[in-house]
């Protein structure tokens, strides 16, 4: 198991019901973790509409998770 911290923003924050959490997961990659959480919390955004940041930087979905990682799933942006 890998223990990571998650921060949620915007629609994902509302669907998760909280801004951040620490959790232990068997998911090997960021993509697998998103799938796991989407199923558990009913996230409506397909992974194709979401990006991921790991430790403060945009990352590839197939990045392997390591204990201590901070992840943010990034819904479609809408600044301006």
């Amino acid at each position: 198991m890998t223990t990571v911290t998650l921060h949620y923003f915007a629609l994902l924050r509302e669907q998760r019901g909280q801004s951040s959490e620490s959790l232990a997961t068997a998911a090997a990659t960021a993509a697998a973790l998103y799938a796991e959480l989407a199923q558990r919390h009913g996230f409506t955004l397909p992974v194709t509409h979401v990006r991921v940041a790991i430790n403060g930087e945009f990352a590839a979905w197939d990045t392997a998770l390591r204990t201590g990682d901070e992840l943010v799933f990034i819904p479609p942006v809408a600044g301006g």
């Binding site: 629609l11 955004l45 945009f58 942006v77």
Partner: protein, 153 residues
């Protein structure tokens, strides 16, 4: 060259003053304000939320990329977060250059890239009491989740 997220109201006059430069013949400014409608619906207010650390990092990259590509003298972009009322300033971009072509092109590129790449999200509150996160509608049944009906009172 600046990109910043601000939870305080933006003062365009103060921001513009910081870019004054005697070498600059041209200054182009963009202001994005909360308008009273979107896709036909009357809008009541907006809420902006940012992943501030990454937003400022990505925003600084945008400004640097544009400055590397175009002969500009100065550029700044400030994006507001929090709840904004109608008419309030949500984003401000200012660019100076010797000649106007580069200032127009850079200003446009900075706001375009900011809207496309910077992790900032916008929730619209409609006059009806409904609200929705912009760009978060998805195809199929999930589309319905874009608009949240007003909470019962």
């Amino acid at each position: 060259m600046t990109f910043r997220i601000s939870s305080e109201p933006l003062d365009p006059n103060a921001l513009a003053a910081q870019l004054l430069d005697l070498r600059a013949g041209a200054y182009v400014e963009f202001q994005g304000r909360v308008r009273n409608h979107n896709e036909g619906q009357p809008v009541h207010a907006l809420e902006y939320e940012a992943y501030t650390a990454l937003a400022e990092k990505e925003g600084a990259r945008i400004v640097a990329e544009v400055a590397a590509r175009l002969p500009i003298l100065g550029a700044a972009c400030i994006h507001r977060v929090g709840r904004l009322e109608l008419g309030e300033l949500a984003v401000w971009v200012g660019v100076t250059s010797a000649h106007r072509a580069a200032a127009f092109e850079a200003c446009r590129a900075i706001i375009d890239e900011t809207k496309a790449r910077v992790p900032i999200w916008k929730k619209e509150h409609y006059a009806s009491g409904a609200s929705g996160w912009i760009n978060c509608a998805t195809a199929g049944p999930a589309a319905a989740t874009r608009i949240t009906p007003p909470a019962p009172r």
